[in-house]
Amino acid sequence: MSKRILIIEDEQVLADLLVKKLEEEGYTVELARDGAQGMDKLREADEASLPNLLLLDMMLPGMPGIEILEEMNTRGLIERVPVVIISNSGQPVEIDRARELGVRDWLVKTEFDPLEVIEKVRGQIG
């Protein structure tokens, strides 16, 4: 059974490239194009359907990444689903806050390319 990855990312090109790359790597990828939608998926998921990893953009329509993290924290989801942030922002304040909430890694999109992202994912969930 392949590992499930949930991507919450509104930028279509990036999202598509990521999905394509990760599927090629053998992951089961689910994509949400706005924050609220992504959060719904997390809320609705039972133990079996919870993703093994969440790739989360911070600036999202519907519901900002930080709120998703806060809710996951409240729901105790963050311990069970490792989160890697893929963001355009690299502001220390945001990064610090995210780390406090239990985020595993923070990637600035312009500083990485898809291959590197996949390496990070492997690092987290194998």
Partner: protein
């Protein structure tokens, strides 16, 4: 013929008659008589000589008042001849009633003794005499007449009269002196009065006492060589004006000049006959002016005040006036007194000035008090209108002052706060945070404290004094709610901008990468070449955006994250490794020299410090031509570490070296090598180094290469 002789001869004649009557022959009796006669004759001569010699007038008068005998002194006194008196009644020379009284009294055994009477002389004048009388009787007690002796009182009377006159003169002088004394008193007493007034009084008194017609004080002219009248009493304006325009020289030639020059009093009873009235004085018009004024006589007295010539006091008379010694004395005293009075007046003036100065000082003090008061009011106003909240803690941290802004921020009135401690006010929701901060912090601190939900204040707690053994502190609450909002908005904006710009760049980057990696199908050589170039352009764009974001953050003052212990040697080794390949490709040698004893950990933001050396190395690589070298070396000092990055590159033009750390600045020769480049690298580097309390500088020669030095402190 002397009276005494006459009367004795009569006795002798009688005796001769008695002798010749019996006609007896000269015998014993005759000899006796002859001896007696001789005795009488001797006595007669004696009496005669005595009466002639006797200097006092003497006469013998019959009981009926007929003059029987007078002596030469008597004749001389009244100017009568002997025969004009003998046989004449005494009334001829003495008033009738006086004569009768004198004769009667004397005959009644009441002789007169020194009674003063007046006898009429031959020329009709009355001669005062003292009268002495004595009745003369014979053996039987029959009154024969009376002697009258006179004492000439004329000299005595004259002396008396003179004495009286002298006494009168003395009285006058005494009066003058008294008046002058009054003048002196006026001058001395009138300390409070202006000198002009005193001068007028003095003049009036001298005029009354001496008959002076005018007075003036002449003062030295500004140049000190002349004199002109300054104060005057009863002198005409014309006279004053003339001598003000024509000052008299301070030397001989004029009375006033000579007096000033010799510092001695000068007198002239008649100016125009005075030998000092020189032809020059006439020629210059001086005397004419005086003559016109009607002045004839003059006295000049130098007025010396504290040994200095104040001026000359002139006393004028409109007639000739002798100055008797007594008057001169008095005038000298008056002048001297005037000097003293002037001295006094000057002293008073000084006193007045001193008093004025004191008054001014008092006023100044008042003014200072008013200023202090105003300042206090102002301070109170400032405190009241301060846009910051202000709370003063005194008397064991009790609130003693709360300004209106603080009341607003606390949402509590001052009366609910005064006299309380913040520790007691912790129950108030809004004050909880502040109470906690004040309790926790040391003596002086600055902290951000939330007051309720909606206000954030930057709180400064500062001690400013001590009162009654207790620290005085002021708590300043600077409302930073708005700044906080702005800060948040800015952060949001930067995030947004970063997102907006970076998202498409990231999309391009990822797509191009996948294309290049062949993930989206194989590319032919030309395609691969173009896409590779595009990828690198995009990377530069991303770099530029990153630099801009860094600059924004630097300017917001929140660029550095918290420093942590880091190893500078690791950072440098890593970077040298990274760039070794590039250097080799470019034909430039790159070396790193670390001290063998190793390096201490530094408190650094590792990522930012890496960026600094990355910038320096990239620049060195970029601007060092093929065959050159880049040497990175580290030196260790006691409290710091010095890193040098030396290249043999194009150098920095001397005229542009001062601007090299400026934002967006790129040297001309650098632009020629490479048109790309943001001009932000060194600006960002400098900010990073300085945020670490380090220093960055360089030494460079055109075409002679550049060395950049970075010094970072070693802490604790």
């Amino acid at each position: 013929m002397p009276a005494g002789r006459r009367s004795v001869s009569r006795i002798r004649a009688q005796m001769v008659e008695e002798r010749t009557a019996p006609q007896e022959p000269e015998g014993k009796e005759e000899r006796k008589i002859k001896t007696l006669l001789e005795d009488i004759s001797l006595l007669e001569r004696y009496v005669h000589e005595l009466s002639v010699f006797f200097p006092l007038p003497l006469c013998f008068v019959s009981p009926l008042g007929v003059i029987l005998e007078v002596n030469p002194a008597f004749e001389e006194m009244f100017g009568f001849k002997f025969h004009e008196l003998i046989g004449e009644p005494l009334e001829k020379i003495l008033a009738k009633e006086k004569t009768e009284a004198l004769v009667q009294e004397t005959l009644r055994e009441h002789p007169v003794h020194g009674q003063e009477m007046e006898f009429r002389a031959q020329n009709g004048s009355l001669i005062p005499v003292g009268v002495f009388t004595k009745a003369r009787k014979d053996e039987q007690g029959q009154i024969l007449g009376l002697f009258i002796s006179l004492l000439d009182l004329r000299e005595l009377k004259k002396t008396n009269e003179e004495l009286k006159e002298t006494a009168q003169a003395l009285q006058v002088e005494r009066d003058q002196l008294a008046q002058l004394q009054r003048a002196v008193e006026v001058l001395l007493i009138s300390k409070e009065r202006p000198f002009e007034e005193m001068f007028d009084d003095l003049a009036a008194i001298l005029s009354a006492a001496l008959g002076a017609s005018a007075l003036a004080i002449w003062r030295p002219t500004d140049d000190g060589i002349g004199l002109s009248p300054a104060f005057n009493w009863k002198l005409s304006d014309r006279y004053m004006r003339y001598f003000r325009e024509h000052p008299l020289p301070m030397r001989g030639g004029t009375i006033v000049g000579q007096s000033a020059h010799s510092r001695d009093a000068m007198f002239t009873s008649d100016l125009f006959r005075d030998i000092r009235a020189t032809p020059e004085a006439w020629a210059s018009g001086t005397l004419q002016a005086i003559q016109k004024e009607g002045v004839v006589s003059l006295a000049s007295f130098p007025l010396l005040v504290n040994g200095e010539l104040f001026g000359v006091l002139n006393i004028y008379f409109d007639r000739t006036h002798e100055f008797p010694e007594s008057e001169r004395r008095v005038l000298r005293v008056a002048a001297h007194t005037a000097s003293i009075a002037i001295g006094n007046a000057q002293y008073q003036e000084e006193l007045k000035n001193t008093q004025l100065a004191l008054m001014n000082m008092l006023e100044d003090t008042d003014e200072a008090l008013r200023r202090v008061e105003a300042e206090r009011n102002r301070t109170q106003l400032i405190i009241a209108h301060l846009t910051d909240g202000l709370v003063v803690l005194e008397n064991d941290a009790r609130i003693s002052l709360v300004n209106p802004r603080a009341e607003d921020m606390f949402r509590l009135p001052a009366k609910a706060l005064l006299g309380k401690r913040f520790s007691e006010l912790g129950t108030e929701e809004r004050l909880r945070g502040l109470a906690k901060a004040l309790a926790a912090e040391g003596e002086l601190f600055r902290a951000e404290v939330s007051l309720g939900e909606d206000v954030v204040a930057e709180v400064t707690d500062a001690e400013f004094g001590e009162k009654e053994g207790s620290r005085q502190r002021m708590i300043i609450l600077h409302d930073i709610t708005r700044e906080k909002q702005v800060e948040r908005l800015k952060t949001e904006f930067v995030s947004l901008a970063a997102h907006q710009l970076r998202t498409p760049l990231a999309a391009i980057k990822w797509t191009l990468r996948m294309l290049l990696d062949g993930d989206l199908g194989d590319l032919n050589k030309e395609q691969e070449e173009f896409i590779g170039k595009t990828y690198r352009s995009n990377e530069r764009m991303i770099g530029l955006i990153n630099d801009l974001l860094d600059v924004t953050r630097i300017e917001e003052g929140r660029y550095l994250s918290r420093p942590e212990p880091g190893k500078i040697d690791d950072i440098l080794s890593g970077l040298v490794n990274t760039y070794e390949e590039d250097a080799e490709r470019k034909g430039v040698t790159l070396s790193l020299e670390l001290p063998p004893e190793g390096l201490p950990l530094l408190m650094i933001d590792e990522e930012k410090i890496r960026l600094v050396f990355q910038n320096l190395l990239e620049n060195a690589l970029h601007y060092t031509p093929k065959g050159g070298s880049i040497e990175v070396a580290v030196q260790r000092a006691e409290h710091e570490i010095k890193v040098s990055v030396r290249d043999s590159g194009i150098g920095i033009p001397p005229g542009q070296q001062g601007r090299i750390f400026q934002k967006f600045f790129r040297a001309d020769n650098a632009k020629r090598v490479d048109t790309e480049g943001s001009g932000l690298g060194l600006y960002v580097s400098k900010n990073i180094v300085e945020a670490h309390e380090g220093r960055i500088w360089f030494e460079s020669k055109p075409k002679g290469g550049t060395v950049f030095f970075v010094v970072l402190p070693v802490k604790g």
